[in-house]
Symmetry: C2
DNA sequence: TTGAAAGCGGTACCAG
DNA sequence: CTGGTACCGCTTTCAA
């Protein structure tokens, strides 16, 4: 392994000069620069990031903390983070937290020791002390919140309004809203959006809380539909719940979208595989991840960030679980 | 930050002794040990992994190279790797290669500089020189092979036999096999398994190559079924393709499973969300990841590994796209 | 058993 | 502009 000393010797300058040149810090004469460049080339010298880390107490590592990569929302996020990170020369460490504060803290500690540069976090524990007291740059994703931590999320409220209106415009007169877990910010925003739109319309509605879990949602919806034959529209806070609702409808012999229309939320790939295809409010998860990563890297590199709160627009994706608009 | 020197001072011994004690290397008297332990406790000393890395040229980092974490097969794999790695005190770095040799090589190089301990790789480039010449421990996953790299994969051939027989036992007389990409080892093994079972049965069959991609598969199958109304069973090399086939059948008004039975391969979560639920040969992806990680860590820590090739059993999961067995 | 000291490969201060 | 050198925090050799 060739070291900076080898380069210095070959270039006929001191290691200090080589280091300065390599880092663009301090003055280096044109001659010296040339000599160093040549030496680096000839020796195929590559800087040792570990040695550098030890000095600078910095690394080009980014930690990505998600509840569970297995949850269909996160792979695309991870992909975006990794893509952007790579572009800027950063490497990403994947951490599954299971929303467990202990695990989260453990990761933060462990990685801090490795001089990790910053974290992108999806968690509900963001207000917990282990985040508040972190000296490192953090960007929060999706579920957020703390005035000193930049956040990027979808426009959940507006998306919910759009989804509700989609059902309304297509003639639904009795809508079931599948509300997500009360602890999740996005779920609450979606709930608000729904309430806003439905109240304004004066249309009849019901609200049932559903975890973002397929089989559970299926069971809950099946039970509910048996008791409420009048339901002609379901707006689910997640695609997984929507898929559960669709399956429940099929089981009960209810025609979708003729008798019952369904709209989901998320836009995960599975939606198009269902029959009929799932109409949904699609989030631009990739974009969220990309923005979060760029913001984080700016923070790491002490650049100004334009905003503190980024809201990524969502989009109505019409597929087979809804009819065409009534004229 | 408290360093090993602080501990040494407090314990009244030299840093060398502290280091030896902490690493369990070399001799340390009981007295010294006690003093060090106490000092560590009092000072809440924690070893600096970066400084250690610089010396040992080792880290507790594992690289996980996958084509694309967005592909439904990989999140669970990543989850398993991360879980097991955490258990042994390792941290995992996520790398999306897109099956691009350049990207792969780039990761290998970059991470080698960080003194990464080893890699778990899912790739078709495994025979490329950048792997062959790696001095680091590697474990290959799923698609494999090189006699010096341990491999863990599903029992694809046997799974394909099981899947085919499932169709046969349920009365299928004209089966369409959706073959996966020819470059993929698992796809080839599945193909072999199918051929073995179908040949033995003497039942009529067709083979069509399909990428592991939903929309493409749907289109291909739809076209094929239009021309071949006699098909009464489809065995797909992947669940995604099976989902495409199912959707094509629905579009064409073909009753599943009454007129056409379908079996997929993979066992991804999406399968149960379809209507009817997708019968499939489920791989134990989590187990594969867990085994691969344990094997890798053994290699890293210079322990003996029992085998060089691990085959994880698959399992037939009966759901709605197949009927009950005919008596 | 123990400790002094020489690294590991860079960074950065400070004098020249 | 440049170079000598202390130092980042830990490991390891070698002599005592």
């Amino acid at each position: 392994m060739t070291t900076i000393r080898d380069v210095a010797k070959k270039a006929g300058v001191s290691v200090a000069t080589v280091s300065r040149f390599l880092n663009g810090s301090g003055y280096v004469s044109a001659d010296a620069a040339k000599a160093v460049t040549d030496a680096v080339d000839e020796l195929k010298y590559e800087l040792n990031p570990v040695a550098r880390s030890l000095n600078t107490k910095q690394s080009h590592l980014i930690g990505l903390i998600v509840p569970d990569i297995t949850n269909p929302f996160f792979p695309e996020l991870a992909r975006a983070v990794e893509d952007v990170a790579l572009t800027y020369g950063y490497t990403v460490i994947l951490c599954n937290s299971d929303e467990n504060p202990e695990k989260e803290r453990n990761y933060l500690e462990t990685l801090k020791k490795k001089y990790i540069a910053g974290f992108i976090v999806t968690s509900n524990q963001l207000d917990a002390p282990h985040y508040a007291n972190m000296a490192l740059p953090i960007v929060a994703l999706d579920r957020a919140i703390n005035d000193r931590i930049p956040t990027v999320s979808s426009n959940n409220r507006e998306g919910a309004v759009m989804g509700t209106q989609a059902l309304l415009q297509r003639g639904c007169k009795d809508i079931l809203f599948l509300r997500g877990p009360e602890k999740l910010n996005p779920a609450n925003d979606r709930f608000e959006g729904f309430m806003e739109a439905i109240t304004e319309s004066g249309v009849n509605y019901h609200i049932v809380t559903c975890p973002f879990h397929f089989a559970d949602s299926e069971k809950i919806v099946e039970g509910f539909l048996k008791e409420h034959k009048e339901i002609d529209g379901i707006f689910a806070s997640s695609d997984v719940s929507a898929a559960g609702a669709l399956k429940a409808a099929v089981t009960l012999g209810i025609q979708v979208p003729a008798e019952l229309q369904i709209v989901g939320f998320d836009g995960i790939a599975m939606g198009e595989m269902l029959s009929p295809g799932l109409t949904t409010i699609a989030q631009d998860v990739y974009k969220m991840g990309a923005i979060a990563t760029r913001v984080l890297i700016k923070r790491i590199e002490n650049q100004e960030i334009e905003q503190h709160f980024y809201e990524v627009p969502v989009q109505l994706k019409l597929r087979g679980t809804t009819r065409s608009v009534e004229k």
